[in-house]
């Protein structure tokens, strides 16, 4: 039973993350490779705000003992501040591959600094010690706490979904898609391109920071190996499977990819002499999944729906009839 609790909790956290990423990639069409850095920063900040003073030789900044919910909020504000800098720089003129490469450059530089500069987050070793925040206050057993935490994550996911779904079909959501489809035309209709994209970018990053704060409590430790570029590709794969630009599809995609892959790859042989075999095989399958989805069904299981009346539905049908909704 506790196995499923972990799987569902983890999938729920990544679904929140994926909803944020989908706003940037699905709605705005910006392929952001810095995104996992926002989850990482959210995790790191939540840790240093809650786990107290470092014990030498461990080193990290702050070392406060804020209550966990407050720490998540403060951490998220810091995440959004970082996104505000990266977004302001990258979104202004850069698009497509240039945007992707620039965000990757930015996140790789951050990654290196976190790894090498130990006084920040203790370098390679990472942080440890955020264990079941609030367990004693809620007077719960270990397993009871894990159940409650799962329910909290699912509750936050539900609220996030409702907000994102609402935004998706709002004038704001439709404007972002108009900008994605044709920046020049949207601009001619009086839309402010940069600020539209920028707002979505900050909102997406805020969701990543929130997911990071939850993730910190879920695994109670965080270090550089937890946020390699590969982790982000799994999220992109999940969005591709579920349906880019469709919030419901994104959530389904995350649960399908995470649970599907975890379950499928459990049956892979994993000889004691080759512990890397099963995880490596899992990454190979993720890579294949990305390529096959892009090649044969780029719109995913649930295609993005055009909001509103018959006219836009006809338009969407006409679009689908073309070569295929391309990424």
């Amino acid at each position: 039973m506790s196995y499923w609790v972990s799987v569902i909790t983890e999938s729920g956290i990544f679904a929140i993350l994926a909803l944020g990423l989908d706003m940037i990639w699905g709605w705005c069409g910006d392929f952001d490779l810095a995104f996992y850095g926002y989850l990482a920063l959210g995790s790191y900040m939540t840790m240093v705000l809650t786990i107290g003073k470092p014990v030498p030789p461990t080193q990290y900044i702050l070392g406060l003992t804020l209550p966990y919910p407050l720490a998540i909020v403060v951490a998220d504000v810091i995440v959004v501040a970082l996104a505000a800098i990266i977004g302001a720089v990258a979104l202004r003129n850069l698009r497509e591959i240039y945007f992707a490469i620039t965000t990757l450059g930015a996140v790789s530089a951050l990654y290196l600094v976190v790894e090498v500069y130990t006084p920040l987050f203790d370098g390679y070793n990472g942080l440890f010690g955020l264990i079941n925040p609030g367990q004693s206050a809620l007077n719960l057993t270990y397993d009871g706490y894990r159940d409650v935490f799962m329910l909290i994550v699912l509750g936050i996911l539900a609220v996030t979904y409702l907000v994102v779904q609402r935004l998706s079909s709002s004038p704001f959501g439709r404007m972002l898609r108009a900008v994605r489809e044709d920046e020049r035309a949207a601009s001619a209709y009086g839309r402010g391109i940069f600020f539209a994209k920028y707002r979505a970018y900050l909102f997406g990053a805020a969701l990543a920071g929130l997911a990071g704060g939850l993730f910190a409590a879920y695994i109670s430790a965080f270090n550089p190996s937890a946020w390699t570029p590969q982790e982000l590709l799994v999220i992109y794969a999940a969005i591709l499977v579920g349906g880019r630009g469709n919030p419901r599809g994104v959530i389904v995609g995350v649960f399908v990819v995470y649970i599907g892959f975890i379950e499928l790859t459990r049956y892979l042989p994993s000889p004691a002499s080759r512990p890397e075999f099963a995880p490596a095989m899992r990454q190979v399958l993720i890579g294949l999944l990305i390529i096959l989805m892009l090649r044969f069904r780029p719109s995913g299981i649930f295609a993005e729906r055009a909001g509103g009346g018959r006219e836009s539905r006809d338009l969407a049908a006409a679009k689908r009839a073309e070569v295929g909704a391309d990424a």
Binding site: Y98, G105, L112, V113, P229, R274, G287, L294
Partner: protein, 293 residues
Amino acid sequence: MNTFLIDVGIGLATASILALSAVAFTLEYAVSRIANFAHGELLTIGAYAAYSGRVIFHQSIIGAAALAVAAGALAGLVLNAGLIEQFRGRHAITVFIATLGASLIIQNLLMIIYGAADVSYTFGQGSLHHVGPFLWTTSDIEVIVSALVISGLLYLLLQRTKFGKAIRAVAQDRVLAQISGIPARRVVMQTWGLAGAIAGFAGFALAETIGTFGPSLGFSYLLLTITACVAGGIGRPYATLGGALVIGMAVELLGDYTNSAYKLAYGFGLLVILMLLRPNGLFVGRGMVAVRA
């Protein structure tokens, strides 16, 4: 002994490998109009091929290098036929994401075959030589000389042969080249083979210089490669060589004069700055038309 000039010498050795990797990336970009994110894996495949040649088949340094070149070329051909051509006509960013998927697959297949632990095939760095004001190991000299030779050969190939002319034509306009009777598909294929061969050799040289390497060797080198290409101007082979020289030296010197652990971070910082200020390259003056992204 002037330490600055010694650092410049080391920078030249770094830049030579970078130049080879970058020129291969630029060739791929020139004919297919895509940024190949699996480019780093061509280097890794070259390095592991050389490792197999050395450790399993007991080849000499020449044999190992030849194996790296052959494996790189083969990987380039397979990548083009199996992936890039399948996505022909699709949006550039779609193909880019697909190559990202390919990179994930290749890295992990190599991990399954060779294991996650780092391997090495050192032929020995050789003794130190004073060449003018520089101080190089034998392998540094081998790398620099072979980079010069390969660049020279590439220049002759592109400027003086019919194949080179065809590559340049396809790079300018694939459809028009096709209409003019150039077998564009075959030329693109052969260019990928060529780029793969150069990348394979670069991987061999990189692994030999670093000493130990793992499945992510090329992936971690990719961003520096892209930085060099952007500095020169993506898609323009000769300018890319110049860009690699600038970036290789800059990263090496910045690293030597501050903390060398941040070497790569400087590279990434330079990349971001270049993207913002000179996305078409350092050498694009007035009156020159840059290749559009």
